[in-house]
Symmetry: C2
Subunit: 334 residues, 2 copies
DNA sequence: GTGAAAGCGCTAACAT
DNA sequence: ATGTTAGCGCTTTCAC
């Protein structure tokens, strides 16, 4: 049932080498006659080449590994999409492992993918503000013979052979903060993902700058439920908050759900804003004010950069973000 | 920088075999002393085993291939999630390729993943009502030495060595149809995905049965935009429709968006329902009536079944679906 | 133009 | 308990 090259060669009455030259698209010359004979037999036997054996020799298997925090999180899903699009275009296979943002798991997974012959590694996981993590990641990158792309802010030795793709989260935070300030908000609550993740802490930092005052930050799980529960806690502690920001749209959606249940009108009683601009944001009622990140483009850029001929090209690419003002934010009720 | 087994063995002053026995977790006996020496060297060299070479010998690489219609479609994303969860649990690597529902591409991708050593293949793509496709898929499955799991209704030779996971779409359609009929709807429009996909045609068929009358079906792209445009066309052609059903929630969301823009109130002027029960459905206003499919569970079941010892166990598993009535459907305005 | 043979990194008999 | 050797399926010198 298997059918390997040797068998094809035998049945076609040619040598292993010739069969290989025909089937592997080698630029080597083979007579038309033999070529056809080999092709015919391969077809008949339904020969499927063994890419692993091939990779063993040529040293590359057209495979890219991708490390994400969580499949199912719209943030990562969008980037996965972008990566997949380029992968299809360049006939690369993508193997994704979700690390649950556990640094230990992330490092292990890097090894695993490395072991399985990935020639490009896209680390979309986190970018943790944790020295041990950073050192571990640096070590992995050093021992990796392929190209590594880091998505998000990673404080990695600039001499390191890596590519970086990131969004200007700080700027996005500022814009959102200024928007809220202009609407008169001074008592703002934030339901935030883990602040060890640098992109999250950047968001909050930017927001604080734009706002001009410290918001009340609560770290919760980066899910709809996290946003829901977090909002409840924030409002319990400080019922005078006039706005809630989620560091991811799902969380803002959770916040809005809580408001709806409590009879709080958005934005009349409370303004709500999110981050990432997931597709459904504009279909909510009220539609969601958010910071747009070009996540798909970032995913595309990640793989494209990695696959591009490694010249002294820009090794880092920062994407601008955009404030998308919709209906969920409004002036403070006087 | 590479560092292979041979190098480890040499530096540790042992034979290749011994190093292998230590590092590959073979049950073979090795003295404590040598074991430690090997481990130390491996650590120091940051030795990363070559899984491809290993796979070449043991014949399996703990890798599962997954074929989906489109990464980014909430329907597939949910199943991917389920698969990933089990994969993590069983330390399997998952390689996903999205086929855009193109039968040709799906078959090619199957080969590709097969070539790359997948030992389980999960086909979540489509299940097309197309003889050529069916035959092609059957051929691929036959030549595949691993286990194949088909998600969705696939009319495959029952003697074939495959596992099946599916949802009772027909039943879901009936329930939704009856629900609408009970509310008095007789003029119903459907924005539908491609009817060549058997799960889609099952949905429409069930719906028709439950409704007791033929709905007006329009095939569009299975996206929010498809639902939006489709609804416009349907209402242009027949302004007297009292309900719109999308064969996927995104399409229903598009329909609701169109209504909102046109000043049509849901469900007062028009009822809207969807399918799949994506998480955000309950956060819409009005919240979305839909048919719940246990997509994550189905993904989990797919991989779990494939990995289970292949006894004469149930080779097929059909999941019940559930009608989730929310606010977007209501009685026909009299 | 074609074939024989070496070897990619590793494991599994088979000795010892 | 350890080492030697023969391959896994394939590509690639190197002869012819």
């Amino acid at each position: 049932m298997a059918g390997n090259l040797k068998e094809v060669a035998q049945r076609a009455g040619v040598s292993l080498a010739t069969a290989s030259r025909v089937l592997s698209g080698s630029p080597y010359p083979v007579s038309e006659e033999l070529r056809e004979r080999v092709m015919a037999v391969a077809e008949e036997l339904d020969y499927v080449p063994n890419a692993q054996a091939r990779a063993l020799i040529v040293g590359s298997s057209r495979t890219v590994g991708m490390l994400v925090g969580e499949v199912g999180d719209p943030y990562f899903d969008a980037m996965i999409n972008g990566v997949h699009r380029i992968a299809k275009e360049q006939s690369q296979l993508v193997t994704i492992v979700s690390t649950g943002r556990d640094p230990r798991r992330e490092l292990d997974s890097f090894r695993l993918l490395q072991s399985h012959g990935a020639s490009v590694m896209i680390v979309a996981g986190s970018g943790l503000d944790d020295p041990a993590y950073r050192e571990g990641l640096a070590a992995r990158i050093r021992s990796f013979s392929g190209t590594t792309v880091l998505i998000g802010r990673h404080e990695i030795d600039p001499e390191q052979r890596v590519l970086c793709v990131q969004a200007d989260n700080l700027d996005g935070g500022r814009m959102l903060g200024e928007h809220l300030r202009a609407l008169g908000h001074t008592r703002v609550g934030v339901v935030s993902g883990s602040s060890v993740v640098s992109s999250t802490s950047d968001r909050v930092r930017g927001l604080t700058e734009g706002l001009g005052v410290e918001p009340r930050v609560l770290e919760v799980g980066q899910t709809r439920e996290g946003g829901y529960e977090g909002t409840r806690h924030l409002l319990d502690v400080d019922p005078d908050l006039t706005a809630i920001v989620g560091t991811a749209d799902q969380m803002a959606i959770g916040a809005m759900a809580y408001c709806r249940e409590q009879g709080l009108r958005v934005p009349t009683d409370l303004s709500v804003a999110g981050w990432n601009d997931i597709w459904v944001g504009r279909d909510l009622v009220p539609s969601l004010t958010t910071v747009h990140l070009p996540l798909e483009e970032m995913g595309e850029a990640a793989l494209r950069l990695a696959l591009a001929p490694q010249t002294a090209e820009p090794r880092a690419q920062t994407f601008p973000v955009q404030l998308v003002v919709r209906e969920s934010t409004g002036p403070v009720r006087s």
